[in-house]
């Protein structure tokens, strides 16, 4: 590509650079705009990294955006300094030392842009699926084939996977591991062991202080002393028994002989700890870990062990960015009042057979999607998420017939099979359910406004049940 690389041709006008049919938007600290929506429509961003903290905040905003228009946008760092920050180190597309180098990065931007057009834009109906799809999209456009963990003091587990972790706060880093495990189960990535870490069983933080504590009272306030065995008289006791206040000599308290030569007339067969808190003596101290985040003191056997792996894309993972993927997750299948998707499909099949034989029976299948529920899940954690889903089932059950069926596709998407229910009736029921659910969540979670969407489909006796279910999902998420 013939390009004019002379300085005089590269001009920054109102934070914009036009070059080779590309428009670069320049962000530096003078923008003081952290609303990155301003970058909409530009082909690439040049981010002045003279102030690394500022650059980090901006880059994180870009890469964590939910819209591919932003998170996939090529970003080039100008005047970047050496840093340990994983966001700045890993989530840029090139480094520049002057605007002259726009010509050098333009090709990169075009290549990314071209790859972006090849992506599959279908939504995945789960938080984990959406998040991993976003990462897969990013990796596809950057020709990256593995997710590598990086040591990061800012991460609550001590490690970060920049491409994925950028979507979470430091405190939410444990969720990153869960999403990676989910993706592993889905067959999108393949783990290659890198390191083992232990997390607090209360808050999942990896910042733990390990110390020896008294097995009787758990205090770490202890004094350790060597035991001394005086061979001639068989006396054995802690070294303080042999010490005096006058000099450094050691004298046996039993026979008053001075200790002369270790191995000849005495030895130190072991160590004894004395707890200054409860006055107990012990040799086998307990090892406890104190969480530096929530201060929970835990026996080390109750810590949560996690493998930190290097994840490589599988064949399925490589094609998922351009072809999409179907989740086979079954984790939300044991909530009382709901069934798993596999059973739902079987029951739907039977219902379909009944509908085929009857000229009057109408059955409606509905898909409910709690669109922004993951913002809430991120805040409340897994236990409360589970509780919420259980409450949700109770509310739905109270408003449908006992013979109707509920199934979770994911923690944000569920299906209802409403027997003997036509479209109008079903629509009314779902409107009521939407209002009740929204109120339930709002009331219990500090006014959180959940965006509940739904779509209905009356079973058509002419089409296969599975096909109709797929169509419902496709129509909804398309």
């Amino acid at each position: 590509m013939a390009m004019n690389r002379t300085t005089e041709n590269i001009q920054v006008v109102d934070h914009k650079i036009n070059y080779s049919n590309l428009v670069f938007y320049v962000i530096d600290s003078t923008n003081s705009i952290l609303n990155i929506d301003h970058t909409m429509g530009y082909d690439a961003i040049i981010l002045d990294a003279t102030d690394p903290e500022y650059a980090r905040i901006v880059l994180k905003k870009i890469r964590s955006h939910h819209n591919p228009e932003f998170y996939l946008k090529p970003v080039f760092l100008l005047n970047s300094k050496t840093t340990k920050d994983p966001v700045l180190n890993s989530l840029h597309d090139g480094l520049m030392t002057s605007y002259d180098q726009v010509a050098d990065v333009a090709d990169v931007a075009k290549r990314i842009f071209l790859k972006t057009t090849q992506l599959d834009n279908q939504l995945v109906p789960s938080f984990e699926g959406q998040t991993i799809k976003k990462v897969l999209n990013y990796m596809y456009t950057r020709d990256t084939r593995s997710l590598k963990p990086t040591v990061d003091l800012n991460s609550s587990i001590g490690y970060t996977f920049p491409e994925l972790s950028v979507n979470f706060t430091a405190a939410e880093e444990p969720q990153v591991l869960e999403i990676l495990e989910w993706a592993d189960r889905e067959g999108l990535i393949w783990p290659d062991f890198h390191e083992k870490i232990y997390l607090c069983n209360n808050c999942s933080s990896g910042y733990l202080s390990y110390r020896e504590v008294c097995p009787h009272c758990n205090s770490s306030n202890s004094k350790s002393e060597d035991l001394i065995h005086h061979f001639p008289c068989a006396y054995i006791g802690p070294i303080s028994d042999y010490q005096n206040n006058i000099d450094n000599s050691l004298t046996c308290p039993k026979c008053n002989k001075a200790l002369r030569h270790i191995g000849i007339d005495y030895d130190k067969p072991s160590v004894v700890h004395h707890c200054n808190n409860c006055d107990q003596n012990y040799q086998d101290a307990f090892i406890k870990s104190k969480c530096m985040s929530c201060e929970q003191d835990t026996d080390i056997q109750y810590l949560i062990p996690k493998n930190v792996n290097v994840y490589k894309l599988t064949r399925k993972g490589r094609s998922a960015a351009t072809s999409g993927f179907l989740s086979s997750s079954t984790e939300i299948e044991d909530i009382f009042g709901a069934i798993n998707m596999q059973t739902f499909r079987i029951m739907l099949h039977y219902e379909f057979e009944k509908v085929k034989e009857s000229t009057t029976q109408k059955t409606t299948v509905a898909l409910l999607h709690l669109e922004n529920i993951f913002e809430l899940y991120n805040k409340i954690g897994k236990k409360a998420e589970r509780k919420l889903l259980e409450e949700l089932v109770v509310v739905i059950r109270e408003n449908i017939k006992p013979s109707d069926v509920i199934a979770f596709e994911s923690s944000s998407t569920l299906y209802l099979m409403l027997s003997n229910t036509g479209t109008d009736n079903a629509d009314q029921k779902l409107k009521n359910l939407s209002a009740l659910t929204t109120n339930l969540i709002k009331k219990n979670f500090n006014g959180f406004n959940v965006n509940l969407l739904y779509k209905l489909k009356v079973l058509d006796p002419e089409k296969k049940a599975d096909t109709q279910l797929q169509e419902l999902s496709k129509d909804f998420f398309a």
Binding site: L227, P232, Y235, S270
Partner: protein, 435 residues
Amino acid sequence: MYYLDEFFNYISSVGPSKIIRVFWFFFFFEFVRFFLVDFTTVLLWKMTAIFRKKRVIDGRNMLWAEEPFVSIIVPGKNEGKHIYKLANSLREQTYQNFEFIVIDDGSDDETPEICRSLKKNGLIDLYLRNEVRGGKASAANLGLRYATGKFIIHLDADCSYDRDAIENILVPFFVNEKIGAVGGDVQVRNYRDSLCATLQSLEYTDTISIGRISQSQLGIYRIISGAFGAFRKEALDSVGGWDIGPGLDGDITVKVRKLGYQIHFEPTAICQTNVPVTFKALVNQRLRWDKSLIRFRLRKHNDVFFPNQSFKFANFISFVENITYNLILNFKWYFYIVDMVLNFASKLIFIVPMNLILYTLNNYFKFIVFSMFRDRKNVRNDYYMIYMPLMVLYFGFFLRFVRTFAYLQELLFKASYEDNWNPEKSSKQAKALKL
């Protein structure tokens, strides 16, 4: 038949004076000491029991009123396999105000894992381990150093105890405050395992237990078995705990005696232990025990024989009796044999069988008489009856020869210092310092 006729002719022809001349060793020494003295003292003990009864009841009441904290210490190497049983045996005790301290003297088997697990589950109160073996005395001393009880009970890991054993061994301290240490009665658990074990069981039942009742009454009881002994902690602290063995059980008893305390044998505090099942293992055990008589009575504690500031008549008598009957008479027996060979050579074919019959009858008689004094038996009396004739060989020859060999080894070569029962580092120092 001819021999039997001759034998009975000989017996009937010799008058009482001749019988005493021929069997003087038996009549003047063994019968007197090991039957008459024991029988008389045990009979007196039994007859006076009624007078002691109130004091014993009062002592027991005082024990329960005070309910002192007691430290049970169990030193040993590679004893992990026995500790769980022992811990369970202790949990069954009527007296429960104790701490259970296990000292692991450099075990190289699974003992540390077993003991840590038991500690974690609350079956052991304190588990201390020396990575390097220091010997039984140092292990016991480590337990003593960290014991917090008013009384210390020393147990062996491979023993088990009657439900009231701990209670019963503590009662004497409250009956007589001058008692500084109490020995429990050790019975043989594995008496059916071999002939060797059966003979030892008979020995423990008939000689050791009864002998200790008698010694205790005479105030000359001198060895509290390491398998089951209780001490006032202040007494053990005063003597600095145990010294290097082998023979440390007798040594610590003598040290406590020297402080002026009385030593008591408590026949109702019952412990069961396993004894060696082969004669080879028994020989090793007895050589170790017997050498300690020379090392500790004749050498280390020979001050007991001399009138000095700490001279005590009871200690003197205890030592004299011990030395006389175990050391002097042991050698005098050979003198008796020489006497018989030189003076009665032609009659030996009658004298030897007569001797065996005499001792066997005496053993039966003793066993039957003493069985009246045994309240708690772990073996039925009739079980022993067929083995009784063998006791002449066991006591009169086997143990005597072992004892003789041990005495000579110790007298001539100080062989106890070479015994690998102690680690070399300790034995070397003990030998150099003539301890």
